[in-house]
């Protein structure tokens, strides 16, 4: 049933994925639990730490996680990531995603470099006291079916395709009996009254609030009246009036999709070009030719008051057009692949319908984030205009890493250390700010708070792999969060 949320394609992708978790800590196993339960294909835990006694932490975690879903294949490697990086860095190339939990900075950066070059997405997670941190580093993550929550409908009322025009014409609102009139889909109602409006307004769409209000009034006047001149109860007309705002939006390609279609890097298709970009190129060719500047028709319409026949007929007009457009895009895909000597059995039809939902997420590398030349100074300083912004927590986490580098331990592990460590941590904060040329003020309260934590974590949020870009900070003290691009 849950596959309803991410669809059959999503479930398939999940089942083909092999995730690597480094460090089976509370946070790490929590993350893996949420991947194992819905059915990820396989996982491998890399952990060199021992559980008290004889058991290895990686092994113990693997066995317990396996219990949750017998379809998932679990593996473990009793080795520290540093050792693997020393002896066999290509070990990591096989994974669809690597999740690094509670890694020390040096290991994290080493690993990040290897994964970036291998094109393997890397998710860094840290929990520190009541602060959660996630950083996604992936050169390019493409999303074909992004399932946005409240996407606008693709009704084409401003530029009806031929079949839609014909269908609209088959209706004669002024000469219908009452039952038919009240059960005509609102899309038809809006289309008909739009024709009236065009005649009186020089073929211009209602543009501003005043005009839209006048258009709504025009529709309102079309509601049938009984013998006493009182308006009848026509819900379909009410729906039409309510939807005027969005139904008349000019059909255009969303900027996110424009960017994808115009992406420089994939202008030339080769035999190595990933499927997503072949599709993008095919969609672009459609837009420039058969589509006349528009994307393939999506083909779905929302439910609305109408009798079954009228609704189904209207729905079929959109559906058939969508299938036609998808076929054309498919042909473009085939000829592109042929031109580079590939033949493909390709499920392109379904993906074409969601052309408006193509997304690409590109996250900066950790190396760039930490480089003095390329650090995102603007983002950091502007967020710190509010000294209590979640950005201060990011700076504290970086400072704590620095502390560890210098003292081989985290601040405030023992009660007697807390006082002294506050001063030492402050030095780390200042050296960090200085090195990156950040002219911001980090309140002493935060330095104190991070010494208080003593590197322990109260288990907190875990997330499914979601392409946020690229840093997510969760503050459990205030139950707030923020996303930054660093």
């Amino acid at each position: 049933i849950d596959a309803q949320l991410w669809g059959d394609h999503g479930q398939e992708a999940l089942e083909n994925a092999h995730v690597c978790l480094i460090n089976a800590t509370a946070t790490g196993t929590e993350i893996l639990k949420n991947l194992v339960l819905p059915g990820i294909g396989a996982f491998t835990i890399v952990d060199g730490h021992k559980v008290t006694g004889e058991d290895n932490r990686a092994q113990a975690a693997t066995e317990l996680l396996q219990e949750l879903n017998s379809d998932v294949s679990g593996n473990f490697v009793e080795e520290s990531p540093d050792k693997l990086l020393d002896n066999d860095p290509e070990f990591f190339h096989r994974f669809s995603l690597v999740i690094g939990v509670q890694l020390i900075e040096s290991t994290c950066l080493r690993l990040a470099g290897v994964l970036w070059n291998a094109g393997v997405p890397f998710l860094v997670c840290k929990t520190y006291g009541l602060v959660g941190y996630m950083r996604l580093a992936v050169k390019e993550h493409t999303v074909v079916e992004s399932h946005p929550d409240n996407a606008l409908e693709d009704l084409r009322l401003d530029q009806p395709f031929a079949e839609l025009k014909n269908h609209i014409q088959s209706y004669d609102l002024d000469n219908m009996d009452k039952k038919d009139h009240s059960h005509t889909p609102w899309i038809i109602v809006v289309a008909k009254y739009l024709e009236k409006w065009y005649n009186e307004h020089n073929y211009q769409l209602p543009k501003n609030y005043k005009e839209k209000e006048a258009f709504r009034q025009l529709i309102r006047e079309g509601i049938l009246k009984n013998e006493n001149g009182v308006a009848e109860d026509e819900e379909n007309f009410e729906e039409a009036i309510k939807n005027v705002n969005t139904a008349l939006n000019p059909t255009k390609i969303p900027s996110t999709v424009q960017d994808i279609l115009n992406a420089e890097g994939w202008k030339n298709i080769t035999a190595q070009t990933p499927a997503f970009w072949v599709m993008a190129r095919a969609v672009k060719e459609f837009v420039e030719n058969e589509g006349e500047g528009k994307l393939p028709v999506r083909g779905t319409i929302p439910d609305m008051i109408a009798d079954s026949e009228k609704f189904i007929n209207l729905q079929n007009v959109y559906r058939e057009k969508a299938m036609q457009d998808a076929s054309v895009v498919s042909k473009h895909v085939e000829s592109l692949l042929q031109s580079v000597g590939k033949v493909c059995v390709y499920k392109s039809k379904k993906k074409c319908k969601n052309a408006a939902f193509l997304r690409v997420v590109r996250c900066r590398s950790l190396a760039d984030e930490c480089s003095v030349e390329l650090v995102n100074k603007d983002e950091i300083t502007s967020c710190m205009d509010n000294p209590d912004s979640e950005m201060v927590l990011y700076l504290m986490l970086r400072s704590v890493d620095r502390f560890f580098q210098q003292h081989s331990r985290y601040p405030g592990v023992y009660n007697y250390q807390v006082e002294e460590d506050i001063g030492k941590l402050k030095l780390c904060v200042n050296s960090l700010l200085q090195e990156y040329g950040l002219n911001v003020n980090v309140k002493d309260d935060y330095i104190h708070e991070f010494c208080r934590y003593g590197a322990n974590a109260i288990k907190m949020i875990t997330h499914q792999f979601v392409p946020f870009n690229n840093t997510f900070i969760y503050n459990a003290m205030s139950q707030t969060s923020a996303t930054f691009q660093l």
């Binding site: 929590e30 113990a60 979601v466």
Partner: protein
């Protein structure tokens, strides 16, 4: 086996918790740092102390309502944080469809009560923890039961149940000369999820916004209008509803039994009939999976959303129990459909909230209005949204039931009252009407005002 919590070896030199043989060295190290160290962001009333850990471990009594998706996560989080006196109520048994996120259950547990299995698992896995299960409905308990808890956390899937719990905690409040006695307040932490969305809120009964104060925040339940179902279906769901609501009771294919969403024979029958109905209207899209989803009213669930919301709730329980930090004030919204989004705000109390405002509720009707009019008002008014209210009044010194739906014989007997006018029923201006409903454990009092 005992597990060290961090990659860096931590020694438990600082204040071992002593006394309890179940606790190995350093077991509560991480929690102690929050309880025993002063800090800049703690609650103003917080005082670092070594006593707090003892309270958390041995004394603090938490009630978890629901042992499903949220409940399993809550129990795990609370037990690992150190709470040991945990009680859990759940009226359901385990279904195979629960296993992909309710991780305290295995396939061998199917059919057993969720509360029992969850308690078993936690108690065995986390030494020292004492989860007490109840395979019951929340309505099976009264004030004396609920009064024993320090904090109550809900992981429910029903608004009605939430409102009932909300009402129960309101009924525990003690007012002296109009002033609320703070010791009678039991904080209620409420979590809810649906797919990739969720929310967590902190309710301090009598002080902050309650469930009923924010009833409009809950999305309306999707119920298709009957005329669509009966004569004008457009979607595959309409066809399935037709079979479920109209065809099944009429044809009784398996005898006089209610439709059971877990019985594959039943679902198969509904599926076939729905397909027939759909083909009559040229509707496509009826699948077995959709049929089951509609019949069982299944809302798709995601393991990670439950994890997030339960974590937020457990964090709040910890904050309140320890006073270590200021609790959430008071509503958190979470959505991870696109990236990760959270939004935190302070929901406001409604001045005349039916559950928590203590303001007597008024009913303004003409003497010529009928009892039916009052009934419709009680069910349709946005702030009341009652389900099947039972109305009683004291007339001529005697307590009379004017209308009651939930018992068939009484319903039949009182049905004629619905068409009678308030005057005909003998009601007077300023009279009190007592209304009972599933949405509240206590009878609600209304004052009737006649309008001209």
């Amino acid at each position: 086996s005992k597990i060290t919590s961090e990659p860096i070896k931590l020694m438990a030199v600082d204040s071992g918790h002593g006394g309890n043989a179940r606790d190995w060295d350093g077991r509560w190290n991480h929690v102690q740092k929050f309880l025993e160290r002063p800090g800049p962001f703690t609650h103003p009333d917080f005082e670092p102390s070594t006593e707090s850990l003892h309270f958390l471990l041995e004394t603090c009594k938490i009630l978890v309502i629901g042992a499903g998706g949220l409940g399993c996560e809550l129990l795990k989080n609370l037990a690992l944080t150190g709470f040991r006196q945990i009680h859990v109520i759940d009226m359901d048994t385990i279904d195979v469809s629960n296993l992909n996120r309710q991780f305290l259950f295995r396939s061998k547990d199917v059919g057993r009560p969720k509360a029992d299995v969850a308690a078993d698992f936690i108690n065995r896995r986390i030494p020292g923890c004492n989860v007490v299960p109840y395979f019951k409905k929340i309505q099976d308990f009264d004030e004396s039961f609920y009064r024993q808890f320090h904090i109550i956390v809900c992981g429910l899937d029903s608004i009605i149940a939430r409102r009932w719990m909300n009402g129960m905690l309101m009924s525990l409040l003690i007012y002296e000369d109009g002033v609320l006695d703070p010791s009678s307040i039991i904080p209620l932490i409420d979590g809810g999820t649906e797919g990739f969305k969720g929310n967590a809120r902190v309710i301090l009964p009598g002080m902050t916004a309650c469930i009923d104060c924010t009833l409009e925040l809950y999305p309306p339940q999707i119920n298709f209008p009957m005329c669509t179902i009966a004569s004008m279906p457009r979607l595959p769901e309409h066809c399935i509803e037709y079979v479920r609501v109209l065809q099944w009771p009429k044809e009784k294919p398996f005898g006089d039994v209610p439709l059971d969403g877990d019985n594959p024979e039943h679902i198969k029958w509904v599926f076939q009939k729905s397909q027939e109905r759909a083909s009559e209207f040229n509707i496509t899209g009826v699948t077995y999976r959709l049929t089951q989803g509609v019949v069982k009213r299944i809302i798709p669930a995601v393991a990670s959303t439950n994890a997030v919301i339960a974590a937020a709730c457990a964090t709040e329980v910890f904050k309140i129990a320890s006073s270590a930090y200021v609790p959430l004030n008071n509503y958190l919204v979470f959505n991870d459909v696109d990236g990760l989004y959270t939004y935190t705000f302070e929901a406001e109390r409604k001045e005349n909230c039916t559950a928590c405002s203590q303001v007597p509720q008024d009913l303004k009707f003409a003497p010529s209005a009928t009892l039916q009019d009052i009934l419709e008002y009680l069910t349709e008014n946005a702030s009341l949204q009652m389900k099947s209210p039972a109305i009683t009044a004291t007339i001529d010194g005697k307590n009379r039931t004017l209308y009651l739906q939930t018992v068939a014989s009484i319903e039949e007997r009182t049905r004629p009252n619905l068409c009678k006018t308030l005057k005909e029923l003998g009601l007077t201006d300023g009279q009190e009407l007592a209304v009972a409903d599933v949405t509240t454990p206590q009878t609600m009092l209304f004052k009737l005002h006649f309008t001209s």
